[in-house]
């Protein structure tokens, strides 16, 4: 047997117990051999492509367990207002795009009024001053608010009669849309996107995804804020294998008939049991430090959750629920406990997404029930630790957020995701964040962090028999790094880079 690709001179961390190899051989789409030293001679032929890993780490292709694929793709076409500090900054950024593409509607994302010196949303008249003859649609950072200029108000189908349209003193719309109006507006606009447009945007981000070493993504699509058409689109893309990336669709809906009619065996992703800490909507058992009396809110009653979870069990669907605060986690776990007792069905590998504030009892329950925690370590880099958002919201309880160490020690399986496009699709940053958790007692080791984004990710989608490991017979989903991650100082892991990414034996990225 000869190899089509041979990777030598590497530190192949197979994730198969502690096995480490120096080389691995690929033929077609599978790994065919692995070994130590120069024992690869037998598989080398004149057609073999030889890759020198230069002592770098060789890993299974990364599995991003929480990736809003279509949103990331569509956002890549938008003006990013994440750094805007004033209306003037917004104007400059939008005008720059307008000059480049004067005849196209402008969409902008990540506007955060807390960052703006005006401390309010711009009005349509403010936006008209930037540009009045092209539609402008601005999304707030959490997508709960839209702002349109007058041209966009006339260009898009606007639901003026529904709740959430803000009016000025003359009873004319201010251009700001929230709640139902925002949801309808987003749906109206998103539904206008053709699948060609989505495809174009998706192709556009694939090089970046490959550069991040991602070979499989849990595509969390549809539902509130997003668009059900996105889920249908991804389902088609998966069937047609239109992009290099393997995707597992998590459709964020309560409509189980629809999920089954699409041939899916799982449901959920961002099925919001509660909301974010940022919006103080995460359901917590104590009061928010910066909003006395507020404890967030649950979007489901226990009865409703019980009913839904039980249905998923009876239909043999893997369920993934968005839970952030401890009250939401408890609600979800109790529903699982009840469903297991009632149905006797186990082994569906149900997941909780984000699951940021579990206590010891929750960890015990999850471990007993076999519920997986699908976590976002990058959140801790961004919002965790002293002086950051978690501390502002949770007070001293910020020290309890994302207890990775305790979860692992308690027997819970952790898989990791980036939550792109909320955070950047950067797996190495995720690994870095898990290893360098701002609260030391929650930190995990590098091998543990690697497993979160490889074999544990594969287990969490039921694909551990074909990916997530470097093993003979497994898919040749391979990432090569430019350094030895086990010997890199932990606080410098984020400086490592991907040098090669292979998906099913095909080179999809080369630095």
């Amino acid at each position: 047997m000869k190899a089509s690709i041979l990777i030598i001179n590497g530190r192949c961390l197979t994730q198969d117990q502690d096995r480490i190899c120096d080389w691995l051989a690929v033929d077609g789409e599978r790994i065919v051999a692995m070994g130590q030293g120069d024992t690869y001679r037998d598989v080398l032929s004149e057609w073999t492509v030889l890759i020198d890993a230069r002592k770098g780490t060789v890993l299974p292709g990364f599995i991003d367990s929480h990736f809003h694929v279509v949103q990331t793709a569509l956002n890549s076409q938008c003006v990013d207002l994440g750094d805007a500090k004033s209306f003037k900054d917004i104007g400059d950024l939008i005008y720059e795009r307008y000059k480049k593409e004067p005849n196209l509607p402008i969409q902008a994302i990540r506007m955060d009024i807390h960052n703006l010196k005006e401390r309010r949303f711009p009005s349509r008249q403010d936006l008209d001053k930037i540009c009045s003859d092209t539609p402008i649609w601005i999304n707030s950072s959490e997508y709960q608010t839209s702002v349109l200029n007058t041209c966009a108000l006339l260009y898009y189908k606007i639901p003026f009669t529904v709740q959430g349209v803000l009016f000025d003193e003359k009873r004319m719309p201010t251009g700001v849309f929230q709640r139902q109006a925002n949801a309808m507006l987003r749906a109206n606009i998103s539904n206008q996107y053709s699948d060609f447009y989505r495809m174009d945007a998706l192709q556009n981000i694939m090089p970046k995804v490959a550069e991040a070493g991602i070979t499989t993504a849990c595509a969390v699509e549809g539902g509130p804020i997003y668009c059900d058409k996105d889920a249908e689109f991804i389902n088609e893309i998966i069937k047609r294998k239109s992009v290099y990336l393997d995707m597992e669709l998590f459709f964020q809906t309560l409509d189980l008939d629809r999920v089954e009619s699409m041939g899916l065996h799982r449901v959920g992703g961002c099925l919001y049991v509660d909301g974010t800490f940022s919006a103080r909507l995460a359901a917590i058992s104590f009061e928010y430090a910066d909003a006395p009396g507020e404890k967030g809110c649950l979007n489901f009653t226990q009865d409703r959750m019980n009913e839904f979870v039980e249905l998923c069990y009876r239909r043999n669907l893997q369920l993934s629920l968005y839970t952030i605060g401890d009250r939401a986690i408890e609600l979800a776990l109790k529903a699982h406990e009840r469903a297991v007792t009632l149905t006797g069905i186990t082994g569906l590998r149900h997941r909780l997404e984000h699951v940021e504030l579990p206590n010891a009892e929750h960890i015990r329950m999850a471990s007993d029930l076999g519920v997986i925690f699908s976590v976002r370590p990058i959140y801790e880099l961004r919002w965790g630790g002293k002086g950051k958002m978690y501390e502002k919201r949770l007070g001293e309880n910020y020290k309890n957020s994302n207890p990775f160490r305790e979860s692992l020690d308690g027997g819970v399986l952790l898989c990791g995701g980036t939550d792109s496009d909320v955070c950047k699709a950067n797996i190495l940053l995720g690994i870095h964040a898990a290893v360098n958790h701002p609260v030391e007692q929650h930190r995990v080791t590098v091998p543990e962090a690697l497993r979160m984004f490889t074999c544990n990710g594969a287990y969490a989608i039921g694909k551990e028999a074909e990916k997530g490991y470097l093993k003979e017979g497994y898919l040749a989903d391979i990432v090569v790094l430019d350094g030895n991650i086990l010997e890199t100082e932990t606080d410098r892991i984020k400086e490592l880079n991907v040098t090669y990414t292979f998906k099913s034996g095909e080179l999809v990225y080369h630095a």
């Binding site: 003859d133 006339l154 003026f160 509130p224 809906t253 309560l254």
Partner: protein, 390 residues
């Protein structure tokens, strides 16, 4: 006849022939602007500010003159050689004497309080898109504001019309049509809980409990998908009752019936020197709109007294109750003192306002007969809740 459509894709046509292509964008805009002002006079300066805000006064004046000339030349004239646009020295308006058809004007002319089902249904069909869909005039801020304002207005009218139509269908026992109308309403505002409630309730009342439950489930899922919230308590209660087959549904139904007060817009006409003419005309108009079954429970003696001035009341009463016309009519022979007629009329209004809000509009009031004038004055001061004079 000239036909102007401003809802959806705009169109100006005459006997099927499209005239838009021959008109400049600004000439069309001028027509739509005048239409939106519903026959009101707009000064030339104001029109120039709407359509040529960036031009010098001379250029704007010339442009306006040119476009008015174009309209006069290209749009058909009527038999009296009148044109659509009435252009005078200081300003312009649509010539109210000129005969033409326009979807917006028809919609504005239709009252959502109308009892005429066919009229409401026909008007509903006129909503085939946004006001001036696809229009946006660069740098013409006031004009664009006008479009925006009219769009909101049209959307509001559409919602009111659909609700009114659904209610009328239901009152007429046409539950299937009422259901279809609420469903159309759901397309306008998919997450509206009042709409969902009515659809679920109507399915139930039509004996289709399965469809009622399915609709609730679909709505609940959609609400979660779109807004991440659960239906309101009232809707959830209805669903629980549906599932459990609870009798409380019947009380819900009754409660709804009580809640669904209708508004009657009544037009009364006057003829000078004929006693009771206005009051008689009002009774006649009320008879066209009120629930006859409801009227049948009105006190017989009052019906007799009022029959003196409006025999239609008698006819209607007989048809509804099955009592012979003569038997009641006989009682009305001879003179009935005016005070009893007045009292009976006031009792009728009081009785009807239990279920209806009555808005009375009096045409040519300067010709009101003296007796009616006094009765109306009395009603106005008596402060009957649910009765108002416009």
């Amino acid at each position: 006849m000239l036909q102007i459509n401003v809802l959806g894709k705009t169109k100006i046509s005459c006997n099927g022939e499209l005239l838009d292509k021959q008109l400049s964008t600004k000439a069309q805009a001028l027509v739509y602007l005048l239409i939106a002002h519903n026959g009101k006079f707009i000064s030339r300066d104001k029109i120039m500010a709407y359509l040529w805000p960036d031009s010098t006064t001379d250029a704007a004046r010339y442009n306006l003159r040119y476009n008015l000339w174009q309209l006069k030349k290209l749009l058909p004239h009527d038999g009296a050689d009148r044109s659509l646009v009435l252009s005078e020295k200081d300003g312009c308006s649509i010539d109210s004497r000129y005969s033409f058809q326009c979807d917006l004007l028809k919609i504005q002319a239709c009252s959502v309080h109308s009892r005429d089902l066919e009229e409401l249904a026909h008007t509903k069909g006129l909503f085939c898109g946004d006001f001036m869909e696809g229009w946006y005039l660069k740098n013409c801020n006031e004009f664009n504001e006008m479009i925006l304002f009219e769009r909101m207005n049209c959307e509001r009218i559409q919602v009111e019309l659909l609700k009114a139509l659904a209610r009328r269908y239901e009152e007429s026992g046409r539950l299937e049509d009422a259901l279809t109308t609420w469903k159309e309403m759901a397309q306008v505002d998919m997450d509206n809980e009042e709409t969902a409630y009515n659809i679920v309730r109507l399915y139930y009342e039509m004996g289709n409990r399965v469809a009622a439950i399915n609709h609730y489930k679909k709505f609940e899922t959609g609400l979660w998908d779109n807004l991440n919230i659960a239906p309101n308590e009232e809707l959830q209660r209805l669903h629980r009752d549906l599932i459990s087959g609870s009798d409380s549904l019947h009380s819900t139904k009754k409660a709804i019936q009580v809640q669904t007060r209708s508004t009657l817009e009544i037009n009364g006409h006057c003829i000078k020197n004929i006693d009771y003419f206005l009051i008689s005309d009002v009774i006649s108009a009320l008879l066209r709109f009120v629930d006859k079954g409801f009227l049948a429970d009105f006190e017989k003696d009052y019906v007799r007294d009022l029959s003196v001035i409006q025999r239609d009341l008698l006819i209607c009463y007989e048809k509804t109750t099955g009592q012979p016309l003569e038997a009641v009519a006989a009682a009305t022979e001879g003179h009935v003192p005016a005070v009893r007629i007045v009292q009976a009329f006031c009792k009728l209004i009081e009785y009807l306002t239990d279920r209806y809000d009555i808005r009375l509009r009096i045409s040519n009031r300067e010709h009101i007969d003296e007796v009616s004038a006094q009765i109306i004055e009395y009603l106005e001061t008596s402060g009957i809740s649910g009765f108002s004079l416009e």
